[in-house]
């Protein structure tokens, strides 16, 4: 309790005295702006720079004016116009300036932990003069139900309506530095932050599609997002913002966060679905074992592995060349289905003196489809597919290959020079803080001419925006073919990563469909028939820059004809890539683990939401479990397994919580928990017998490491988990690759298989040799269980290192059981006693 209270106290103290200054470069003449902070200090519009300021009271359809000049102020009064005495950050302001100057506004005493959100603006019926009240850039397309006018670049008016006779340009963006007019047919509250996380869509119910109608509009949107995201720092000029008050930042507490099997990114095998083939580095197919060895797939007969023959497996070499020049490639994994071997490689396509486009396309993916011959193993034909970008994940279903690739568009910006007027005060250097604040970005050319770069409107010098692919025809083509299958959010200040799910026919090797989602995604989750994208780019705003978490979730179908399905948002942040899981009972239901998260660093106790896709573009909340961990701690991780979840707090020595998800409408924290007594690193759940296996390092009372611990826990009755057996393997010289890769852990038919290594430095009598060990979970007549050691590989020479491709595989041949262990491209086989 003390820990958490100290932490909160520190944050509160900090927030009380916290404050920032923001600068806006004002231009001479009229300008329509917004301020980043509320202020009552009208003196910031000073007499030497400003003649007049207007704001509009939309509730009463009245103007409010201010001037630092007495005569102008009198003229305002004489016309019975209300004076403008304060400015809110959501207000748009017309400002008339005599010259270019820098407006500095303070955001002081901002209650950063306040529950009051700045997300929403209430607009009146009629015209409203607004500005975005927080640090964000939003596409005006997401406010298409309103008429919008904006006065901006080169003193031009922009609008979001098409006036046939006018050539007013389209509104480019809405941000907190600029004001804009908005016409609303009725009074309503608009959640601008929420709108910023929405996809640009059109239609309703199950007919919702992307709002993009032409490929030009797609390219323009990508290009605009690239420019806005890359101009960010200089455009805002708020990197110079300073703390007005600064507290001594002393660390009052530091949490000990170590891996406990939930909080680390250690996963086991991916969830399997009937009829869905997922690539890996080892596969059993027909009479053969296929496995990855460097840049090749090797295939050998099961019978020969079973008999430990010394033989050379068939090699499927995966090399790619252009004009006789071999490209640098790396095989990731492969899949086998329907008599075809499909491999996935990355290519680093570096060229000598590359063009801009070639530099942007250096990362490519190569997918090779081999039509297999069996007996003897070989292939009769093969087809290559190349795609710009890297493969994220893939699925093989029937005759279709679905592959998600991630491509990063490229842009090169040029910033025009803006010469300073002779009257500019920056021509007269002063050794003052004010001069430095005003003129820090002024540069001088060889003739002594002073200039600034125009960071507001950079020119696009070069760009390469969309990925290409080459299928079995060998011709490079655009991967984004249909603008209605391009989806992007209205948040323009984020990375423009393009995630494309492409469907290829594996018989012909040709592209059938593609769907692209653009944005800075936290999670891309491929399930049996759906893909989920989550983003945290539009959080709740509690001050101009401070936020609390919010997560946007978007669901798409990918099978047969890809389409948009639904979106929802959570007022919290997902924890990691394991935080979203589709229910194995109902594929329309997802379970999501999240926690509140302030940008100041404080986190919440966590929650699990059960959400059902309603079929009309939205999700329904079926059930929620809140405050998962003890009130003194915050939730650090959750992993979902079938109808249970295991959760942990940030503390290494606190128990793991078991959560019952069997009732979708009433998820509940069970009465049972699992106490940890060492450094747990991996948790494996067995669906068949509802057992949890924990692998970790033993730690004694003095904190000194011991051997590798293996525990088996029965969670069939989730409220009363029962530890069936445990054992310690070796001593502090030993550890297991399972700590780092759960894919080296195997469990089947009450048999546990795991590799153990020793550090090779020294040995004690209790140190065990590096090997793959097998244990059988057995019960005696009185019901007591134990993990009985069965066998180990005799040689430790092959196991003294491991790589990310290492795998354990169980194999049955002629009624005998075998363990296969793939390590560093070599495959080792061991028959297990019956």
């Amino acid at each position: 309790m003390l820990k958490r209270n100290l932490f909160i106290l520190m944050v509160l103290m900090y927030s009380v005295v916290w404050g920032k200054e923001y600068s806006i470069n004002m231009k001479s003449g009229w300008q329509l702006i917004g301020l980043p902070a509320d202020t009552e200090n009208m003196r910031l519009f000073n007499r030497s720079d400003v003649r007049l300021v207007w704001s509009y009271n939309s509730e009463y359809n009245d103007w409010e004016g201010f001037s630092p000049e007495t005569s102008v102020l009198s003229a305002i009064d004489s016309q019975n116009i209300n004076r403008l005495n304060r400015v809110k950050r959501w207000q748009g302001l017309w400002v008339f300036s005599y010259n270019n100057w820098t407006l500095t506004v303070s955001e002081s005493n901002e209650p950063s932990l306040s529950s009051q959100l700045l997300d929403s603006v209430t607009v009146s019926r009629g015209w409203n003069l607004l500005s975005i009240p927080f640090n964000a850039v939003i596409s005006p397309k997401v406010l298409s139900e309103f008429k919008i006018w904006k006065y901006d670049r080169d003193s031009q008016w922009q609008t979001n309506r098409d006036y046939t006779f006018f050539d007013f340009p389209e509104v480019d963006e809405l941000n907190s530095k600029r004001g804009f007019w908005l016409y609303s047919p009725e009074e309503r509250t608009v959640d601008l932050a929420k709108r910023g996380g929405e996809l640009l869509l059109t239609g309703s119910d199950d007919q919702i599609t992307s709002s993009f109608t032409t490929l030009d509009s797609v390219h323009n949107h990508i290009s605009k997002t690239l420019v806005i995201n890359n101009r960010e720092q200089n455009y805002w000029n708020w990197s110079e913002s300073i703390d007005i008050f600064q507290t001594d930042t002393t660390v009052t507490d530091s949490y000990t966060i170590v891996s406990n099997g939930i909080t680390n990114g250690n996963s086991g095998f991916e969830k399997r679905y009937n009829g869905v083939e997922i690539p890996d580095t080892i596969k059993e197919y027909n009479e053969y074992i296929f496995y990855k060895q460097d840049n090749s797939v090797r295939a050998g007969m099961i019978s020969r592995f079973a008999s430990n023959d010394v033989f050379t497996p068939k090699e499927f070499k995966l090399e790619y060349s252009e004009n006789g020049q071999l490209k640098t490639s790396s095989l990731k994994n492969f899949a086998i289905s329907g008599g075809r071997l499909i491999s996935f490689s990355t290519i680093n396509d570096t060229k000598i003196s590359p063009s801009f486009a070639e530099r942007c396309r250096e990362k490519k993916s190569a997918i090779t489809i081999h039509d297999l011959n069996l007996n003897p193993i070989g292939y009769r034909a093969k087809r290559d597919i190349f795609i710009d970008g890297e493969v994220n994940s893939s699925r093989l279903i029937d005759n279709s290959l679905y592959v998600i690739t991630k491509f990063e568009p490229c842009v090169e910006l040029q910033y025009p020079r803006v010469l300073l007027q002779q009257s500019d005060s920056c021509f007269n250097p002063e050794d003052t803080a004010d001069y430095r604040a005003r003129c820090y970005d002024v540069k001088s050319d060889e003739n002594g001419t002073l200039y600034r770069y125009n960071y507001e409107y950079p020119d696009l010098k070069e760009s390469y925006l969309t990925p290409k692919y080459s299928d079995s025809t060998g011709v490079w083509q655009e991967l984004i073919k249909d603008p209605k299958q391009f989806y992007a959010s209205s948040n323009l200040a984020q990375n423009s990563d393009l995630y494309t799910v492409s469907q290829f026919n594996i018989e012909s090797g040709k592209l059938l469909t593609s769907l692209t989602v653009m944005g800075e995604m936290d999670l891309v989750k491929f399930t049996e028939s759906s893909i989920y994208f989550t983003s945290s780019q539009s959080p709740h705003r509690v001050s101009f820059e401070e936020t609390t978490g919010r997560t946007d979730i978007h669901k798409f179908y990918f099978k047969y004809q890809p389409k948009y399905v639904a979106s929802t948002e959570l007022n919290s942040s997902l924890i990691d890539r394991f935080s979203l899981d589709e229910s194995s009972v109902d594929s329309g239901v997802i379970r999501v683990a999240s926690r509140s998260e302030l940008s100041t660093g404080d986190k919440g106790r966590g929650r699990i939401d059960i959400l059902k896709d309603k079929g009309d573009g939205t999700f329904d909340s079926l059930g929620t479990l809140q405050d998962i961990v003890d009130y003194r701690y915050f939730l650090e991780g959750v992993k979902f397994y079938d109808d249970i979840a295991v959760a942990s707090s940030e503390s290494a020595n606190k128990p793991l919580y078991l959560i019952d998800l069997s009732d979708l409408e009433a998820p509940r924290k069970s009465g049972g928990s699992i106490t940890l007594n060492g450094k747990n690193s991996y948790i494996h759940y067995s669906t068949d017998d509802k057992r949890l296996f924990l692998v970790g390092q033993e730690v004694d009372e003095k904190g000194i490491d011991g051997g590798v611990t293996l525990r088996a826990i029965d969670v069939e009755v989730i409220d009363t988990p029962v530890e069936l057996a445990s054992r310690t393997i070796g001593d502090y010289h030993n550890f297991s690759p399972v700590y780092y890769s759960g894919k080296t852990f195997g469990y089947k038919d009450s048999r546990v298989v795991l590799p153990i290594q020793n550090d090779g430095n020294s040995y004690s009598p209790s140190t065990v040799a590096s090997s793959v060990y097998s244990y059988r979970l057995e019960s005696d007549e009185s019901g007591n269980s134990a993990l009985i050691r069965e066998s180990a590989y005799s040689s430790d020479s092959f196991i003294n290192s491991y790589d990310s491709n290492s795998r354990v595989l169980f194999m049955n041949y002629l009624s005998s059981n075998y363990i296969l262990y793939l390590n560093n491209g070599k495959l080792f086989t061991k028959r297990i006693a019956e």
Partner: protein, 130 residues
């Protein structure tokens, strides 16, 4: 070219507003310069040069650092704007309706408006001229 279109439309919208009784109390019916004011430094935008290295960010693919001196290459944007400038001269504000800026330029004292005098559901309101 843009002025011509706007002028025609100003007349059309003004007529429509008069017919519908939606006219406002604005005084600058003859002012067709709204929305065409050009900031004094606009002419320098064709002088392009890559920015300092600090401007590059993660997804620019090393672009700015690879091309430190490409100031001679005009971009399509800048050539468009300079062409427009030659066709459409910078409007000059004269008379009492203008305010002189520090650099001597004169700017209309009325707040800019897309179609002067047309305040209705299509076009935003204008404050009084002070």
């Amino acid at each position: 070219m843009r002025i011509d279109k706007q002028y025609i439309l100003a007349l059309m919208i003004g007529a429509a507003a008069l017919l519908s009784g939606c006219n406002d109390n604005s005084t600058n019916l003859q002012d067709d310069t709204g929305g065409t004011e050009v900031s004094p430094n606009n002419s320098s935008t064709s002088d392009n040069q890559s920015p300092p290295p600090a401007n590059s960010s993660s997804s620019t693919s090393d672009s700015s650092s690879d091309n430190p001196s490409s100031s001679d290459e005009p971009t399509s944007n800048s050539s468009d704007s300079s062409e427009e400038d030659t066709i459409e001269p910078t409007p000059v504000c004269e008379g009492e309706e203008c305010i002189e800026l520090t650099d001597g330029t004169k700017v209309n004292r009325a707040v800019p408006h897309p179609i002067p005098t047309s305040t209705n559901d299509e076009f935003p309101p204008q404050p009084p001229v002070i």
